[in-house]
Symmetry: C2
Subunit: 205 residues, 2 copies
Amino acid sequence: MSENTVFQKNQGTKEKILKVSKILFSELGYKGASVRKIASEVGIRESAIYNHYKNKEEIFLDVAKEIFSSPFSFEKEDIKELSLKGKVFLHKYTMHYKLLTFDKNNESMFRILLIELLQNKELREQFMNEFHNKNIKVLSEGFFIMMQNGLIRSADPMIIAYEFLSTLFYIRLQITLMRFDSMSTTPLSTQFEKHVDFFWESIKI
Amino acid sequence: MSENTVFQKNQGTKEKILKVSKILFSELGYKGASVRKIASEVGIRESAIYNHYKNKEEIFLDVAKEIFSSPFSFEKEDIKELSLKGKVFLHKYTMHYKLLTFDKNNESMFRILLIELLQNKELREQFMNEFHNKNIKVLSEGFFIMMQNGLIRSADPMIIAYEFLSTLFYIRLQITLMRFDSMSTTPLSTQFEKHVDFFWESIKI
DNA sequence: GTCTATATTTGGATAGAC
DNA sequence: GTCTATCCAAATATAGAC
């Protein structure tokens, strides 16, 4: 057996721990998701966990890395081009947001964000920077271009962006809560489209 | 000593426990606020707590009772009267909301709501009913009257209410987070007024 | 009503055999 | 890498003296 052919028992254990932890943290929070429960769900003993992670905190950090890693894929060029189409920009942006809301993995990350937002300062900072500021930046750039091209009425682009984003967030929050209780979200899921319609009527010239 | 003159040692202990618990639950969440910490902060032993509350859960329920107990004092008549003034209604409503955001006690309750929202099903239901639905009801009534009187453009009053409320919530969330970190909220606190201005421009005829 | 003492459980983490 | 065994700390809760 050469040095390069090292056989590892249960190679996917670390990935499994990560996967299980995502779910448990998103359902029980940091304190509620004990190392016991994680190990049990993975199908190994607690002590075996420590062969993959130094401690519980390290598991959480590994999970938390993902919370803000799947942001909006709008490129500079897209924004310029799309903004000229006015409402289409808002619609595309919102549909992207809607997709994230219903995506299993993103949903777990959003739940963790909600649960730990007040318990974790770093999470709060990331929420402000990655979640709020980045979205406001992209949106206000879009609104600025629309304004320049006479598509929408004159106003502070940052304010318009803030107004638009806040409702997206609130819809997502409500849907996330309802899905947590396995309630039907069909009435609410159309709220995204209604938001775009109402908002466009509010700013178009 | 007659039966009617019973002297109790430390009569205010239960109130003190409640007061301390409010703060600790709002800072550390249900799990984080241990009976140990509560007792210590009150200045008594853990065991003494159990002379006032059956268990920890009962303390939390006592605290949680307050979360949705300070709603809007808008009477039926007020809504009708205020709605005819259009923007004044929105402004008064928002200023009330702003007051709650910065009120110490309401702030604690809002924090608990955020922390425990995903951990407590009853809290989620109350959030939807007491927080969301009640606000939507009052607001949509107001918008309906405005519409009838030709003050605002035609649209579904429920949608308008949803759009208006969602931004109020988002501003409150951001301010609550920033105050938790003792950050200055002066730039954000004017967001309430900006919201009213922008929104009125969006719906007025 | 508060205290000391104590029971009991749960959770994070390590040692050492296989 | 996983297991058994074990340790230690923290947390909920109770019993009984004062």
